[in-house]
Subunit: 665 residues, 2 copies
């Protein structure tokens, strides 16, 4: 223990005078949008207008000049736009950035001395008090501005000063107040007491990071016969149907060689037969690791052709990035120092409690040999697939890998390829879900599959529209996954699938579907939210034209999403009143209200439900008795609503939801 | 413009790999209480227990060790206490600091490797799966711990390892899990992946900063005759009465020499007669400035005797710190460079729109000559008065002086004399009000005088209990001031004064009264919220025994405050349901609910009001039909309440409020 500090040291420890003299005179507080005080980048997409607000104020009564400044992270020069005083020290500006990548923004404020002078001069002039002294002071402002300027500006200010000196009081007053004088004086402004906010980061991604419909399939199941392993070449035939349903992203579980040791058999059994294909998440065999392609799926050339064919159909291929190894992964031999070996020469298999993955082992990111070789290798693997045309990665269980690793990897990859999108497959506590978004994930899996009641859904949708979620987290509402066969669907029948599809497609700009959902597959492992005969462990051919499928409805839902900007994000959602606990009723609307969609979903797949409900007339500034136009976006019917309170009836055997566009008048 | 950065520079600009490798593996987020991400110190008082919460989490499933650490700012060693896992990554700890001054606190977290090991070992043991390998790993943990330790600890760990090696599996299991082993291993813990939060500041003040009753008087008015200037010596006679009313702080407007030039006459008139005393806020004459005493009040010795006599009565003298000058202030001659002179050789008089102060001028804190001489001079003036025994300052219009100046001055003075309390007399926009608290003001004037309706008061009281206000701002509810003769009181009669006194005394730990309130003075300047014949400009003797005075009620309200800890702060206030818009009904309660006071105030000074209201049984964990004990704290009556819904009737001519202590059972 060393000695505590003396009184004099203590007095100056908190704030020494020289440091106090350098503190900004103007306070810039509560800048929004920000995450954790600027520690992480806020999310936006290309073309999005980002409102920026702050409280800006100083002592006294002077006028302030407040600017919003921004630039790409690598650029030198800032762009600037004036912010507007909204009263009570609240200032607002707007950022509109054209390209992808990371931007910085900040707020710049100074005391507008000439503006303050003009404000007071005008008040005194209007009050008809003598202003001779004020005019003299004003001329001094102009003289000093001229003196500190150069070239043409200095000359024009000098000329202005001369002109003022020759004018009457009324003439001078008029001259001080005219816009041209303000422009000149602003150019010569020395920005008294200039104060800067921190620099805040903004990650601008392409539209698809916020608005996309994902379709997941196992290429090996694209076959007519469970005994014949499907291939990349087989997938070509599925592309038109997937595109016709309105999807943008076609996502494959891992396509890499699958290990043999501890391979899982059907229904997650611990022993596989010789012909069992194994889980594609058990990555790595003597045929290669994360950089390689499972030979039974095809060649690298086949993969490239599929990526190109998908692109021709408007689909992007998304790959799974699952940092784990089968016990046959080449790394166990090549880089034993990347793993934690037990005293008996084995490696502990992976767990994600309560799930056990006996067929896979994990690397140790902070093992002495792994830093930084493993990190760089993983980055190079991602970059390698990017160079094959894959710009979207669904990342398996990111919450079990170190946060700093992801923060670096995503920054590094997106620094090179800003178009790359990372989806976090995290199902864990809320803080970690949000944190993954903060450190760079473009979007994330969600709790959506376990939110079923009106209260649960309303709370969850609302929370995602609030801080900190809205700044850092884009929810991708998967209605099912190979891991999640939602309990709600086990007994709901077709109507239940339509309910969940409507909630997902209308609730967020991002939604996803795992194949089989469109034909209402729901047979569970008894008592579990898992699929019976899960495709994770076996090849599952399907008949997509099976009767009762909801392909047409999915196509229409996706079509509506494309037509209406309000539906292209999870933001702008507001839950409204419908007096029935089985009917979730909400609005999605753009900031300018030009796109305003009302969505009512009955959560009861079995019975008709009725409710009175409120049209949000107040959001248009309309009185309670106003009339509005309604349009049913599922069938194109239009009508006029009279007044605020309306009534609806939903029959799930017909269609368990209504989607209506509302316009004033 | 210089060139933008290259791609490689851009890639590494966001987060270079070496930097990523140093990032903490454990996330520590949303630490509370904090202000603006730790930019300013949070407020507390001596003996207060400050709950500290944070979200702490890491990748994977390991157990974390999380500590709360704190120390006085000048100290070297941290004190530490374990935080508790409240679920969902929320951790909670408690800070209890004994002395005044600035403290720092932080959160320390690391991966508890041995704790994680024991957790898994126990699960496997309970599941009756083989644990030989686990036990071998456990012994290795102990061996490594011994190796990295020294002295006795190393020996004891080595002995533990030997013991384990000789035991059966069951014996080893028992040995790993026993508390003594945990203690030993914790001592040898190498704190894997240790992560620290920022250091956050906490300003600990004495109780009086949070709980005090202020009484304001003009010493010159303590006289029987408006023609005879009252003195410090006259004030002695008032001390017992002020103390008997239960006040702690006796606050005087400025006691310094008053200028002659532009001296104000009665009712703020622009010309004073030869005998008009002038406003004490026009500080400075040839007899001295802010360091001096107005000769008509007495000598420095008189002042010292008054400070001592007040202390004997349990009263502290508070002085006014008003940084402004009459045109006769010595500084105008001695330090002309501290002022902004106009072209005609004058200085612009002060304004606080719409108020005009023709008798005073302001210094310019950033004038070339004023930095830092003026700042140091002002600090020395405050320190000079502190050395005269004045530990409380009411600061006049701080929002018109630079924020960095206050931040430095308060830190400097409180670094020397941590017992000094600063009250901000700021009536301005909310952001500035809060900011003054953030930069160091112990407490502040408020909007209380203009909050009259139930909705206004409920909203305001509630807001002050929420972030950011609760962390940075202690409201001092003045019921009136020499500047504010509240409109509500002009017509309310005696009941109105009781209403406002009850609201102030029960609403906050801090309240204040300007003399005359206790005898219900309310005559306004016509149409204004100012006093007729304001004491600011003339001597105003008073008869404090005038009939209809509310001295007894004030004394009882202050007595109740001293007896009940829940009333010694503005925090812990919760508005409850009373079904009458004229009755504000709220609770004040300590965190442990041991002090729980219910307050019902009728806001109608003229008519009886009745209401059903809810007893907050749920806050005691009681069912709706529970019975509770009630005690009327104004008259000592007690009773039993049966059930949640009760009824009240308030007759303002009797007493316009009720104050009840509630206890379970």
């Amino acid at each position: 223990m060393t000695a505590d500090k003396s009184l004099d040291e203590q007095v100056t420890e908190v704030l020494p005078l020289p440091q106090a003299l350098l503190l900004p005179r103007i306070a810039i507080e509560d800048v929004q949008p920000t995450i954790d005080g600027g520690q992480f980048a806020v999310k936006a997409v290309v073309g999005q207008e980002v409102p920026v607000t702050a409280r800006v104020f100083a002592d006294g009564h002077d006028k302030l000049a407040v600017l919003l400044a921004w630039k790409p992270v690598g650029a030198v020069d800032w762009q600037r736009a004036a912010m507007t005083d909204k009263g009570n020290n609240h200032w607002q500006g707007r950022l509109r950035v054209g390209g992808q990548g990371r931007y910085m923004y900040r707020i710049e404020a100074w005391i507008d001395q000439f503006g303050s002078y003009c404000y007071e001069l005008e008040k005194k002039f209007v009050a008809a008090v003598p202003i001779d002294l004020e005019l003299q002071e004003g001329r001094e402002h102009v003289r000093q501005a001229s003196e500190r300027s150069q070239g043409e500006l200095a000359e024009r200010l000098a000329a202005l000063h001369d002109e003022l000196s020759q004018r009457s009081n009324d003439g001078q007053f008029e001259c001080f107040l005219k816009p041209a004088t303000a422009v000149l004086m602003r150019q010569a402004d020395h920005q008294a007491y200039l104060s800067l906010s921190h620099d805040f980061a903004l990650d601008v991604e392409r539209q698809l990071a916020q608005f996309a419909s994902w379709y997941e399939l196992f290429p090996r199941s694209v076959t007519d016969d469970a005994a014949r392993h499907g291939t990349f070449n087989d997938v070509h035939a599925r592309l038109p149907a997937i595109r016709d349903m309105g999807f943008d992203v076609l996502y494959f579980p891992p396509i890499h060689p699958i290990g043999r040791r501890h391979r899982k058999g059907p229904n997650n059994s611990l022993t596989a037969g010789p012909d069992d294909p194994g889980s594609p998440y058990a990555i790595g065999s003597e045929e290669g690791g994360h950089e390689a392609i499972h030979p039974q799926l095809g060649s690298r050339e086949d993969f490239r052709r599929l990526v190109a064919a998908a692109a021709e159909h408007g689909l992007e291929i998304a790959l799974d990035f699952a940092i784990q190894c089968s016990q046959d992964h080449p790394w166990l031999q090549q880089h034993p120092g990347w793993f934690n070996w037990r005293p008996d020469g084995t490696i502990k298999y992976a767990e994600n409690p309560p799930k056990k993955y006996q067929d896979i082992v994990n690397v140790d990111f902070y093992a002495a040999d792994a830093v930084p070789a493993l990190w760089i290798e993983l980055r190079d693997i991602v970059v390698g697939w990017v160079e094959e045309g894959v710009k979207i990665f669904r990342v398996d269980n990111p919450h079990t890998k170190p946060l700093p690793f992801w923060q670096w990897l995503i920054a590094d990859v997106r620094g090179r390829y800003p178009e790359v999108i990372f989806l976090a497959e995290a199902f864990t506590a809320p803080a970690m879900m949000a944190r993954l978004g903060k450190i760079g994930y473009s979007q994330s899996y969600t709790y959506f599959t376990w939110r079923n009641t009106k209260a649960e859904l309303a709370t969850y949708f609302t929370e995602l529209n609030q801080s900190p979620w809205r700044e850092c987290y884009r929810p991708n509402f998967f209605v099912n996954t190979p891991d999640i066969n939602p309990a709600f669907l086990h007994q709901s029948g077709r109507a239940g699938f339509l309910i969940r599809a409507a909630l997902a497609t209308m609730g967020s700009g991002l939604w996803g579907m795992y194949s089989g959902f469109e034909i209402c597959e729901s047979a569970p492992l008894p008592g579990k939210e898992e699929y019976l005969d899960s495709e994770k462990y076996q090849i599952r051919p399907r008949d997509y034209s099976a009767p009762g499928n909801i392909i047409a409805e999915i196509a229409q839902l996706n079509r509506i999403r494309r037509q209406h900007p309000a539906l292209q994000t999870h933001l702008g959602l507001q839950v409204y009143n419908a007096w029935n606990d089985n009917i979730l009723y909400f609005g999605k609307r753009t900031a300018d209200r030009s796109s305003f969609i009302l969505v009512a979903v009955s959560l009861d797949p079995h019975n008709a439900q009725e409710a009175h409900f409120e049209l949000p007339l107040w959001e248009f500034g309309l009185p309670d008795d106003a009339q509005t136009r309604g349009e049913d976006l599922m069938n194109g019917h239009t009508w006029t609503w009279y007044g605020k309170t309306q009534w609806m009836r939903i029959e799930p055997w017909h269609q368990p939801f209504g989607i209506w566009r509302i316009t004033p008048g």
